[in-house]
Amino acid sequence: MNQAYFEGLRAVGPECVLTLAAFVVLVADLFFGARGARHAGWVAIAGLVATAAAILGGAQDAGVTVFAMVEVDGFARFFKLLMTAGTAAVVLLWMFDARRRRALPGEAFFLLLGALLGGFVIVGTNNALLFVLGFELLSLASYALAGFDKQRPASGEAAIKYIVFGSFATALMIYGISLLYGLTGTLDFTRMAAGDPGSGAPGLIAQLAQGDLPVALALILVLAGFAYKISLAPLHFWAPDVYEGSPTPVTTFLAVVSKVAGFGALLRFLAGLFVNDATAAAMTAYGTRFAMLLAILAAVTMTLGNLAALRQSGLKRLLAYSSIAHAGYAMIGVACLTETGFSSALVYVAVYALMNAGAFAVLIYYEGITGSDKIEQLRGLGWKTPWVGVAMAVLLVSLIGLPPTIGFYGKYRLFVEGWNADLGWLVLVAAINTLISLFYYFRVVKALFLAQPASIEVSRARVVATLAVGAALGTLVFGLWTRPLDQWVSSGLDLLRRG
C-alpha cells in the first residue's frame, strides 16, 4: 500500500509543489511585510518555475490514474504547463505594473497560486466530486482576486457581480452533476455513458433509449457551469463588467488562465462522454445532436462578443468582449467532438492564451503611461513607444487571425476541422466575424499609429514591455514555424487515444 501511495504522490508532484509554493508565498509575505511584497512575488515565480519543472520532469508518468481520481496524462500536462506559464506572466505583470508597484499585495500571489491549483485539479480529473472541488477553488480565489483594487469601487463591484453570477452558475452545474450521478450511479465521467456495473445503474446509453429529456437536462445544466467559466453566451454577462472592474493583472488571469482551465475541463468532460472509444455508437449519435447545441453556442458567442466589442471605448472592455468572441471561435473545435477537432481546439486555446497574455501586457503598459484604458488616450503613443506599439499591432493582427501570425494558423485549423465535421455554416459565420473583429481591433492600431504623438511622459516598464514584445515575437515565430506547437498539442491528445 505504501509503495503505491508514494508512487501516486510522485505522480501528483506538480500539485504538491504548487501547494507548497502557495503556502511558502503566504508565509514569505508575512515575513517580508507590505514593503517587501515584491520579494513574495519572486517567491511565487520560483514556485511556478519549480511547478513547471515538476510537470516536465514527470513526463514518464503519462497516462496513469492516481488515487482513482487524478489523471496524469499528456492532456493534463498540456493545460497545466499553459496555465503555469500564464500565471507566471500574471505575477510578473502585477509585480511590475506601474500603477500598482507602490502597494503590492503579497497575499494576491498566494491566491493566484491557489486558483492555479484549482485549474490543475479540474483539467486533471474525471471524478465529478474532485472536479467540483477544483472548480470551486478556482472560482473562490478568483472572486477574491477580482476585488483587489480596494480603493476603487468598481473593483469591489466586480467581485460581488462575479460571486453572485459564479455561485448561480456553479449551483446549476452541481445540480446537473447530481442528476448525472443519479442517472448513472457513478461519479466518473468516463464511465457515465456505459453505466457502472457495480451499482447496477443503467448508464446514459440505456437512459437515452428510454427518453432523452433527463440526460439533456443534466448535460445542459453541467454545460451551463462550463459556459460561465469560459464566458460562452448566454452566460457571458459577467465577463465584461468583471474584466473591467478587476485589477488588470487579475483580468489577465481570468482571461487567460481561468479560461484555459475551463476549456481543459470541458474538453475532458466531453471526451469522457462522447469521444472516447469506450462509449458506444448510441452515445456518439446523441453526441452529434449535442454538438449542434455547442455549435450554435459558438456562433452566438462569437457574434455577440464581436458586435459588443465594436462599441467599446475602453481597451480593457474591448479585450474582454474580444475574449468572449475568441471563446466562440475555440468552441468550433470543441463542437466537432472528434479527435482532430479537439486538437484544433487545443491549438487555439494555446494560441489564444499567448495572444491575450501579450495584449493584456500591452494594456498594463499603456495604463501605466496614460492612467486610463481609454483607446483615445493612446493617440500617437505607438510612435513614442515603438517596441510595444509594434508588438500590439502584431498581437492585434494575430487576434484578427491574419497571416503570418499564429492567430491565423489557429483559426485555419479550426476552419478545417469545422468543415470536416460538417459545420460549414459555422465556418462561414466565423469568417464573417473575423471581418467584424478587424474593425474594432484596428481602432486600437489607428489610435496608436495614425495620429500624431501627444506630449506625454513615457515611463519605462521594462519587464511588462518585454513580456508584450516576447508574446508578439512568439505569435510571429510560431506562426511561421508551427511544428513545436503541433508536437505539443499532439502529445496532449493522449486523452482521446486511451480506450
Binding site: 491574419l402 497571416p403 460538417d422 469568417a431
Partner: protein, 508 residues
Amino acid sequence: MESHLLSWITFTPLIGMLAVLAAPRRAQTLIQLIALCATLVPLVLATILYFVAFDPGRADYQLVERVDWIRTIRAEYYVGIDGLSLSLVWLTTLLLFIAVPASFSVERAGKAYYALLLLLEVGIIGVFVSLDYFLFYVFWEVMLLPMYFLIGIWGGPRREYAAIKFFLYTLFGSVLMLVAIVALRLDAGTFSIPTLVELARAGRLTGANLPGGGELLGMSFGAWCFWFLFIGFAIKIPVAPLHTWLPDAHVEAPTPISVILAGILLKLGGYGLLRACFPILPAEFREYAFALGALGAFSIVYGAFVALGQTDFKRLIAYSSVSHMGFVLLGTAAMTEWGTSGAALQMFNHGTSSAALFLIVGVIYDRVHHRDLNAFGGISQVAPRYWAMSTIAFFSALGLPGFAGFVSEALTLIGAFQSSDPRFKLLVAISAIGLVIGAAYMLWAMQRVFLGRLDPKYAKLSDINLREVFSQAPLLFLCVVLGIFPFLVLDPMGPSVARLIGLLRGSP
C-alpha cells in the same frame, strides 16, 4: 538544376527591411540608400530571370523550389514561375524601385515608411511566385498591413477612412477566399495549385470528399468556391460594383503608394483569377463566362463614365483603372488566345501607364498642392518637358495606336469578338463605347491641365526635375516600346497562355 533565384527575389527586400530598421533614425540618407539598394537588387535579379534564367519556350512552371513547411496541414514552401507571372514579377520589382526615389518627397517618410514599403514588396512578389495555396494566402495577407499603414499614416486628409475601407474590403474578399481554400484543401488533400488544376481537369474536384458533398447554403461546391474566390480577387481588380474602395485609397495615398496600388496591387486580382480561380474551377468558369464578360464590359463603361465626371485629377485616374482593368476580365472570359493574351498584356501595360499617370499627378501636386482639374491650365507653357512626358502616358492610357495600351486593348476586343459565344459581340460593342469615352476623359483632362490660358499664379512653376524624370522614364519607355514590340512581353507568356486556355476550355 536547383536554383533559389525566386527566393532571393522574394526575400531580398525583407533583408533590406531589417537593415532599414537597424539604421539610426536620424540617418535619413542612409535609410533611403538602403531602400534603394534593397529594391534595386530584386530588379536586377528579376531582369536576369526574365532574360536569362527563364526559358520562354516552356509552358510549365520553372525555377521551382519545393520544401515541406507545415507538415500537419501539408502546406509547402512551393514557388515557381511561368509566363503569366514572369512579366508581373519583373514589373513589381521595377515599380518598387521607382517608388523609392518617388518617396523622397513624401513628408515624414522615415524608417517606418521604407520598412513597410519593402515588406509590401515581399508580399507582392510572394503572391506572384507562390504555387501553394496556403503560401499564396499568407503572402496575400502580408500585403494588407503595410498598405494599411502606408495609406493611413502618410496619406491625405481622409487617410484613416480610406485606409480602413481598403482593409475591410480586401479582408472581406480574403476571408471568403480562405473559406474556399479550406474547402478545396479538404476535398483535394493538397494546397498545390498545379495539383488542384490537374484534379480539376480530370473532373475530380467536386467536393465529393467533403461532408454533404460540400454543399453550402444551397449552392453546389463548385459554385460557391468559384464565387468566393472570384469575389476575393474581383475586389482587388477591382470589378465594378466592388470598386468603391479604390478611388478613396488612391486619392488619399501618397504618390508612390498610388503608383504601387495601381501598378501592381490591382494586377494581383487579375493574376489571382488567372492562376488560382479560373483554372481550378474551369467548369464553373465556362458556365459563368458570359456573366464575367458582362461584368468586365460593365466595369469598362461604368469606370469610363464616372471618370468623365471627375474634377480631381487623381480620382479620374483611379476610375480609369476600373475601366482599364475591366478588359482583363472581358478578355479572359472570352476564352480565346487573343483575348487571354490581351488580358495578360493589358495587366502589364496598365501597370506601366497608370503608374506613370500617378507619378505625373504627383509631380504637379508636389508643386501646387491641389489636384483640381478645373484650376489648372496652360501648364505646358511653363513645363514643356513635363508636358511631353505626360503626353506619352496619356496616349498610352487612352489606347492610341503606336502605344502599349492600344495593343492590349485591341487584342482583348478582337479576342472577345472571336469568342464562340455570339453574345460576346454585344459586349465588345458596349466596351467600345467605353474606349471612346476613355479617349474623351483623357484628352479632356490633358486639355484642362496643359493647354489653354496659363494662370499667372502658375507662371513660376518649375519644370520636372531629374529625380522625377528618373522615376518616369522607364515606364514611358515601356509604354512606347511595347506599343511597337509587344512580343517582348507576349512571347514569354505565349506557351503559358496557350496552356491556360486549354485548361479553361477543358480541351486536353
